[in-house]
Protein backbone atom coordinates (compact mmCIF):
# COMPACT_ATOMS: atom_id res chain seq x y z
CA UNK A 1 0.00 0.00 0.00
CA UNK A 2 1.53 3.33 -0.95
CA UNK A 3 1.58 6.42 1.24
CA UNK A 4 -1.21 8.15 -0.65
CA UNK A 5 -3.52 5.18 -0.21
CA UNK A 6 -2.76 4.95 3.48
CA UNK A 7 -3.63 8.63 3.92
CA UNK A 8 -6.88 8.10 2.05
CA UNK A 9 -7.64 5.20 4.33
CA UNK A 10 -7.09 7.50 7.29
CA UNK A 11 -9.38 10.14 5.75
CA UNK A 12 -12.01 7.45 5.30
CA UNK A 13 -11.71 6.39 8.95
CA UNK A 14 -12.05 10.06 9.97
CA UNK A 15 -15.04 10.64 7.71
CA UNK A 16 -13.19 13.27 5.71
CA UNK A 17 -13.04 11.46 2.40
CA UNK A 18 -15.35 12.70 -0.35
CA UNK A 19 -18.24 10.32 -0.98
CA UNK A 20 -16.96 9.49 -4.45
CA UNK A 21 -13.81 7.96 -3.02
CA UNK A 22 -15.26 6.61 0.21
CA UNK A 23 -17.02 3.74 -1.53
CA UNK A 24 -13.79 2.63 -3.21
CA UNK A 25 -11.85 2.68 0.07
CA UNK A 26 -14.65 0.86 1.87
CA UNK A 27 -14.44 -1.86 -0.76
CA UNK A 28 -10.66 -2.01 -0.37
CA UNK A 29 -11.01 -2.48 3.39
CA UNK A 30 -13.47 -5.33 2.75
CA UNK A 31 -11.18 -7.15 0.34
CA UNK A 32 -7.62 -6.30 1.40
CA UNK A 33 -6.41 -7.66 4.77
CA UNK A 34 -3.57 -5.15 5.09
CA UNK A 35 -5.94 -2.23 4.52
CA UNK A 36 -8.43 -3.71 6.97
CA UNK A 37 -5.71 -4.14 9.61
CA UNK A 38 -4.50 -0.57 9.19
CA UNK A 39 -8.02 0.83 9.33
CA UNK A 40 -8.67 -1.18 12.49
CA UNK A 41 -5.48 0.15 14.08
CA UNK A 42 -6.35 3.74 13.24
CA UNK A 43 -9.86 3.28 14.65
CA UNK A 44 -8.47 1.65 17.77
CA UNK A 45 -6.03 4.54 18.32
CA UNK A 46 -8.82 7.04 17.94
CA UNK A 47 -10.83 4.99 20.38
CA UNK A 48 -8.30 4.90 23.17
CA UNK A 49 -7.47 8.58 22.78
CA UNK A 50 -11.08 9.74 22.85
CA UNK A 51 -11.96 11.13 26.24
CA UNK A 52 -8.58 10.20 27.67
CA UNK A 53 -6.66 13.39 27.34
CA UNK A 54 -4.22 13.54 30.22
CA UNK A 55 -5.57 15.57 33.09
CA UNK A 56 -3.12 18.04 34.46
CA UNK A 57 -3.67 20.40 37.34
CA UNK A 58 -2.44 23.95 37.24
CA UNK A 59 0.51 24.03 39.65
CA UNK A 60 -0.65 27.26 41.26
CA UNK A 61 -3.33 28.01 43.79
CA UNK A 62 -6.53 29.54 42.52
CA UNK A 63 -5.86 32.79 44.36
CA UNK A 64 -2.30 33.18 43.15
CA UNK A 65 -3.22 32.39 39.56
CA UNK A 66 -6.08 34.87 39.62
CA UNK A 67 -3.99 37.61 41.23
CA UNK A 68 -1.46 37.38 38.39
CA UNK A 69 -4.20 37.52 35.79
CA UNK A 70 -5.87 40.45 37.48
CA UNK A 71 -2.61 42.39 37.64
CA UNK A 72 -1.90 41.66 33.97
CA UNK A 73 -5.38 42.88 32.99
CA UNK A 74 -4.91 46.06 34.99
CA UNK A 75 -1.52 46.65 33.37
CA UNK A 76 -2.94 46.10 29.91
CA UNK A 77 -5.82 48.47 30.55
CA UNK A 78 -3.52 51.12 31.99
CA UNK A 79 -1.32 51.22 28.87
CA UNK A 80 -2.36 53.79 26.29
CA UNK A 81 -3.34 52.23 22.96
CA UNK A 82 -0.68 52.53 20.28
CA UNK A 83 -1.54 54.90 17.50
CA UNK A 84 -0.26 54.64 14.02
CA UNK A 85 1.76 57.78 13.31
CA UNK A 86 -0.54 58.92 10.57
CA UNK A 87 -3.57 58.54 12.82
CA UNK A 88 -1.98 60.79 15.41
CA UNK A 89 -1.17 63.31 12.69
CA UNK A 90 -4.73 63.04 11.45
CA UNK A 91 -6.21 63.99 14.78
CA UNK A 92 -4.72 67.45 14.48
CA UNK A 93 -6.99 67.97 11.52
CA UNK A 94 -10.23 66.82 13.06
CA UNK A 95 -11.91 70.21 12.97
CA UNK A 96 -15.66 70.75 13.50
CA UNK A 97 -17.59 68.86 10.82
CA UNK A 98 -18.35 70.74 7.64
CA UNK A 99 -17.87 69.93 3.97
CA UNK A 100 -14.81 72.15 3.75
CA UNK A 101 -13.26 70.64 6.83
CA UNK A 102 -13.68 67.20 5.34
CA UNK A 103 -12.04 68.23 2.08
CA UNK A 104 -9.17 69.82 3.99
CA UNK A 105 -8.83 66.66 6.04
CA UNK A 106 -8.72 64.40 2.96
CA UNK A 107 -6.33 66.72 1.20
CA UNK A 108 -3.84 66.77 4.03
CA UNK A 109 -4.18 63.02 4.44
CA UNK A 110 -3.54 62.24 0.79
CA UNK A 111 -0.60 64.62 0.57
CA UNK A 112 0.79 63.22 3.79
CA UNK A 113 0.60 59.62 2.62
CA UNK A 114 1.67 59.89 -0.98
CA UNK A 115 4.47 62.37 -0.49
CA UNK A 116 5.84 60.58 2.49
CA UNK A 117 9.57 59.88 2.86
CA UNK A 118 10.36 56.43 1.32
CA UNK A 119 11.21 55.06 4.74
CA UNK A 120 7.86 56.16 6.14
CA UNK A 121 5.16 53.79 7.20
CA UNK A 122 1.99 54.98 5.54
CA UNK A 123 2.26 53.33 2.10
CA UNK A 124 2.72 49.78 3.35
CA UNK A 125 -0.81 50.00 4.72
CA UNK A 126 -2.27 50.52 1.23
CA UNK A 127 -2.57 46.88 0.23
CA UNK A 128 -5.34 45.23 -1.71
CA UNK A 129 -5.62 41.48 -1.90
CA UNK A 130 -7.92 39.16 -3.74
CA UNK A 131 -8.06 35.38 -3.63
CA UNK A 132 -8.68 34.09 -7.14
CA UNK A 133 -9.03 30.40 -6.42
CA UNK A 134 -11.72 28.70 -4.34
CA UNK A 135 -9.16 26.05 -3.41
CA UNK A 136 -7.08 28.31 -1.19
CA UNK A 137 -7.26 30.49 1.87
CA UNK A 138 -4.64 33.06 2.78
CA UNK A 139 -3.16 34.68 5.84
CA UNK A 140 -0.84 37.66 5.84
CA UNK A 141 2.23 38.60 7.80
CA UNK A 142 3.44 42.18 7.60
CA UNK A 143 6.68 43.17 9.26
CA UNK A 144 7.66 46.78 8.92
CA UNK A 145 10.80 46.11 10.97
CA UNK A 146 11.97 43.51 8.44
CA UNK A 147 10.47 45.42 5.50
CA UNK A 148 8.55 42.36 4.41
CA UNK A 149 4.98 41.51 3.42
CA UNK A 150 4.18 37.80 3.33
CA UNK A 151 1.08 36.13 1.97
CA UNK A 152 0.63 32.49 3.01
CA UNK A 153 -1.31 30.39 0.54
CA UNK A 154 -3.14 27.60 2.35
CA UNK A 155 -4.62 24.78 0.34
CA UNK A 156 -8.16 23.93 1.30
CA UNK A 157 -8.20 20.75 -0.74
CA UNK A 158 -6.23 17.49 -0.38
CA UNK A 159 -2.67 17.45 -1.63
CA UNK A 160 -3.71 16.04 -5.04
CA UNK A 161 -5.31 19.34 -5.93
CA UNK A 162 -2.46 21.50 -4.73
CA UNK A 163 -2.35 24.37 -7.24
CA UNK A 164 1.22 25.08 -6.27
CA UNK A 165 2.49 21.50 -6.41
CA UNK A 166 6.14 22.19 -7.08
CA UNK A 167 7.42 18.70 -6.62
CA UNK A 168 5.33 16.03 -8.24
CA UNK A 169 7.96 13.35 -7.68
CA UNK A 170 7.69 11.09 -4.68
CA UNK A 171 10.00 12.08 -1.89
CA UNK A 172 12.77 9.50 -1.72
CA UNK A 173 12.69 9.53 2.06
CA UNK A 174 9.03 8.60 2.25
CA UNK A 175 9.41 4.87 1.65
CA UNK A 176 6.24 2.96 1.12
CA UNK A 177 5.34 1.32 4.37
CA UNK A 178 4.76 -2.37 4.27
CA UNK A 179 1.82 -3.54 6.28
CA UNK A 180 2.22 -7.18 6.78
Amino acid sequence: MDTELMLKLQSWVDGELPASEAARIAELVRTDTAAAALAAELRMTRGFLAGNEPEVKLPESREFHWSKIQRAIERAEAEPRESLPWVAALRRFLVPVSGLALVAFLTVLSIGIFNRNPSGTGDELLVEEETLSRHVDTTTYNSQANNMYVVYIINKDVVDDDPMDLDSDLDEDMDDSVIQ
Binding site: T3, M6, L7, Q10, S11, D14, E16, A34, A37, L38, A40, E41, L42, M44, T45, R46, G47, F48, L49, A50, N52, E53, P54, E55, V56, K57, L58, P59, E60, R62, E63, H65, W66, K68, I69, Q70, A72, I73, A76, D137, T139, Y152, I154, N155, K156, D157, V158, V159, D162, D173, M174, D175, S177, V178, I179, Q180
Partner: protein, 200 residues
Amino acid sequence: MATHPEIPEVSDEKLVRRAQRGNMPAFEELVGRHRDKIYARAFSMMRNEDDAVDLSQEAWVKGWQRLKQFQGESSFVTWMTRIVINLCLDQLRKHKRQRAESIEQLEDDLGGVERQMPAVTVNPTEGLERTELRARIDKALGQLSYEHRTVLILHEFEDLEYKEIAKRMQCSIGTVMSRLFYARRKMANLMMSWKREQQS
Protein backbone atom coordinates in the same frame (compact mmCIF):
# COMPACT_ATOMS: atom_id res chain seq x y z
CA MET B 1 -10.16 35.64 48.23
CA ALA B 2 -13.59 37.11 48.58
CA THR B 3 -16.18 35.08 46.73
CA HIS B 4 -19.78 35.80 46.10
CA PRO B 5 -21.79 32.98 47.68
CA GLU B 6 -24.25 32.82 44.77
CA ILE B 7 -21.63 32.65 42.05
CA PRO B 8 -20.90 28.91 42.24
CA GLU B 9 -24.56 28.25 41.38
CA VAL B 10 -24.57 30.47 38.32
CA SER B 11 -24.11 29.04 34.83
CA ASP B 12 -21.14 29.92 32.64
CA GLU B 13 -23.44 31.74 30.22
CA LYS B 14 -24.71 34.05 32.94
CA LEU B 15 -21.23 34.65 34.27
CA VAL B 16 -20.01 35.50 30.77
CA ARG B 17 -22.83 38.01 30.32
CA ARG B 18 -21.97 39.65 33.64
CA ALA B 19 -18.27 39.69 32.81
CA GLN B 20 -19.05 41.25 29.44
CA ARG B 21 -20.58 44.12 31.35
CA GLY B 22 -17.31 44.57 33.24
CA ASN B 23 -18.06 42.40 36.26
CA MET B 24 -14.61 41.22 37.30
CA PRO B 25 -15.72 38.79 40.05
CA ALA B 26 -17.79 36.96 37.45
CA PHE B 27 -14.71 36.60 35.27
CA GLU B 28 -12.69 35.50 38.26
CA GLU B 29 -15.21 32.69 38.83
CA LEU B 30 -14.90 31.61 35.20
CA VAL B 31 -11.13 31.52 35.56
CA GLY B 32 -11.45 29.46 38.71
CA ARG B 33 -13.76 26.96 37.05
CA HIS B 34 -11.74 26.42 33.90
CA ARG B 35 -8.16 27.19 34.79
CA ASP B 36 -7.11 23.53 34.89
CA LYS B 37 -8.61 22.78 31.50
CA ILE B 38 -6.91 25.77 29.87
CA TYR B 39 -3.63 24.98 31.57
CA ALA B 40 -3.91 21.31 30.53
CA ARG B 41 -4.32 22.27 26.90
CA ALA B 42 -1.31 24.57 27.06
CA PHE B 43 0.76 21.93 28.81
CA SER B 44 -0.15 19.17 26.36
CA MET B 45 1.06 21.39 23.53
CA MET B 46 4.08 23.01 25.12
CA ARG B 47 5.24 20.10 27.37
CA ASN B 48 6.79 22.69 29.65
CA GLU B 49 5.19 23.77 32.93
CA ASP B 50 6.47 27.35 32.98
CA ASP B 51 5.51 28.03 29.36
CA ALA B 52 2.10 26.49 29.94
CA VAL B 53 1.47 28.62 33.03
CA ASP B 54 2.53 31.81 31.24
CA LEU B 55 0.51 31.06 28.13
CA SER B 56 -2.61 30.09 30.02
CA GLN B 57 -2.33 33.33 31.99
CA GLU B 58 -1.92 35.27 28.75
CA ALA B 59 -4.94 33.47 27.33
CA TRP B 60 -7.10 34.60 30.24
CA VAL B 61 -5.98 38.20 29.78
CA LYS B 62 -6.82 38.02 26.08
CA GLY B 63 -10.11 36.37 26.96
CA TRP B 64 -11.02 39.33 29.15
CA GLN B 65 -9.99 41.81 26.45
CA ARG B 66 -12.00 40.04 23.76
CA LEU B 67 -14.94 38.98 25.87
CA LYS B 68 -17.36 41.31 24.12
CA GLN B 69 -16.62 39.48 20.86
CA PHE B 70 -17.79 36.19 22.33
CA GLN B 71 -21.27 35.59 21.01
CA GLY B 72 -21.95 32.16 22.48
CA GLU B 73 -21.41 30.31 19.20
CA SER B 74 -19.51 27.72 21.23
CA SER B 75 -19.17 27.12 24.96
CA PHE B 76 -17.04 29.61 26.82
CA VAL B 77 -14.41 27.02 27.67
CA THR B 78 -14.17 25.96 24.01
CA TRP B 79 -13.68 29.59 23.05
CA MET B 80 -10.99 30.03 25.69
CA THR B 81 -9.32 26.80 24.60
CA ARG B 82 -9.03 28.13 21.08
CA ILE B 83 -7.36 31.27 22.40
CA VAL B 84 -4.75 29.31 24.33
CA ILE B 85 -4.17 27.00 21.37
CA ASN B 86 -3.41 29.95 19.11
CA LEU B 87 -1.02 31.40 21.67
CA CYS B 88 0.74 28.06 21.95
CA LEU B 89 0.99 27.73 18.17
CA ASP B 90 2.54 31.19 17.93
CA GLN B 91 5.03 30.35 20.63
CA LEU B 92 5.92 26.98 19.12
CA ARG B 93 6.52 28.54 15.73
CA LYS B 94 8.90 31.05 17.26
CA HIS B 95 10.88 28.40 19.08
CA LYS B 96 10.94 25.70 16.44
CA ARG B 97 14.28 26.78 15.02
CA GLN B 98 16.03 26.23 18.32
CA ARG B 99 14.28 22.92 18.93
CA ALA B 100 15.37 21.54 15.57
CA GLU B 101 18.65 20.52 17.14
CA SER B 102 17.02 18.11 19.57
CA ILE B 103 17.30 14.37 19.17
CA GLU B 104 13.51 14.09 19.04
CA GLN B 105 13.35 16.37 16.01
CA LEU B 106 16.21 14.49 14.34
CA GLU B 107 14.34 11.22 14.68
CA ASP B 108 11.28 12.80 13.10
CA ASP B 109 13.34 14.22 10.27
CA LEU B 110 14.77 10.79 9.53
CA GLY B 111 11.30 9.51 8.81
CA GLY B 112 10.55 7.26 11.71
CA VAL B 113 10.60 3.51 11.77
CA GLU B 114 6.97 3.48 12.84
CA ARG B 115 5.78 4.11 9.28
CA GLN B 116 7.09 0.71 8.28
CA MET B 117 5.88 -1.27 11.25
CA PRO B 118 3.08 -3.79 10.90
CA ALA B 119 -0.40 -2.78 12.01
CA VAL B 120 -1.13 -3.15 15.70
CA THR B 121 -3.96 -5.67 15.86
CA VAL B 122 -4.32 -6.12 19.61
CA ASN B 123 -5.66 -3.24 21.66
CA PRO B 124 -2.67 -2.27 23.83
CA THR B 125 -4.87 -0.37 26.28
CA GLU B 126 -7.16 -3.23 27.17
CA GLY B 127 -7.30 -3.84 30.87
CA LEU B 128 -5.69 -0.55 31.78
CA GLU B 129 -7.22 1.61 34.46
CA ARG B 130 -8.16 5.01 33.19
CA THR B 131 -5.48 6.76 35.25
CA GLU B 132 -2.81 4.46 33.88
CA LEU B 133 -4.10 4.87 30.34
CA ARG B 134 -4.01 8.65 30.63
CA ALA B 135 -0.52 8.50 32.09
CA ARG B 136 0.67 6.39 29.16
CA ILE B 137 -0.99 8.70 26.66
CA ASP B 138 0.72 11.63 28.34
CA LYS B 139 4.08 9.84 28.14
CA ALA B 140 3.51 9.02 24.48
CA LEU B 141 2.56 12.62 23.66
CA GLY B 142 5.86 13.69 25.17
CA GLN B 143 7.67 11.52 22.65
CA LEU B 144 6.15 13.21 19.62
CA SER B 145 7.58 16.25 17.91
CA TYR B 146 5.62 19.45 18.35
CA GLU B 147 4.12 19.26 14.86
CA HIS B 148 2.89 15.69 15.31
CA ARG B 149 1.67 16.26 18.83
CA THR B 150 -0.17 19.45 17.86
CA VAL B 151 -2.01 17.81 14.98
CA LEU B 152 -2.98 14.89 17.18
CA ILE B 153 -4.23 17.17 19.96
CA LEU B 154 -6.21 19.38 17.58
CA HIS B 155 -7.80 16.42 15.83
CA GLU B 156 -8.36 13.93 18.65
CA PHE B 157 -9.00 16.25 21.60
CA GLU B 158 -10.33 19.39 19.95
CA ASP B 159 -12.28 17.54 17.21
CA LEU B 160 -11.07 19.91 14.52
CA GLU B 161 -11.30 18.89 10.87
CA TYR B 162 -8.22 18.65 8.68
CA LYS B 163 -9.05 21.94 7.00
CA GLU B 164 -9.30 23.84 10.27
CA ILE B 165 -6.08 22.31 11.57
CA ALA B 166 -4.30 23.26 8.35
CA LYS B 167 -5.46 26.84 8.74
CA ARG B 168 -4.31 27.07 12.33
CA MET B 169 -0.97 25.45 11.67
CA GLN B 170 -0.46 27.33 8.41
CA CYS B 171 0.24 24.23 6.42
CA SER B 172 -1.49 22.20 3.74
CA ILE B 173 -4.17 19.60 4.40
CA GLY B 174 -1.78 17.00 3.01
CA THR B 175 0.77 17.87 5.67
CA VAL B 176 -1.90 17.62 8.36
CA MET B 177 -2.84 14.17 7.12
CA SER B 178 0.78 12.96 7.02
CA ARG B 179 1.49 14.24 10.49
CA LEU B 180 -1.70 12.82 11.95
CA PHE B 181 -1.03 9.44 10.38
CA TYR B 182 2.51 9.35 11.71
CA ALA B 183 1.43 10.51 15.18
CA ARG B 184 -1.29 7.88 15.43
CA ARG B 185 0.99 5.06 14.30
CA LYS B 186 3.65 6.16 16.75
CA MET B 187 1.11 6.29 19.58
CA ALA B 188 -0.17 2.80 18.77
CA ASN B 189 3.32 1.34 18.57
CA LEU B 190 4.48 3.00 21.78
CA MET B 191 1.44 1.72 23.67
CA MET B 192 2.06 -1.75 22.25
CA SER B 193 5.73 -1.76 23.25
CA TRP B 194 4.84 -0.72 26.81
CA LYS B 195 2.23 -3.43 27.00
CA ARG B 196 4.85 -6.02 25.95
CA GLU B 197 7.29 -4.67 28.53
CA GLN B 198 4.63 -4.97 31.20
CA GLN B 199 3.82 -8.54 30.22
CA SER B 200 7.42 -9.71 30.05
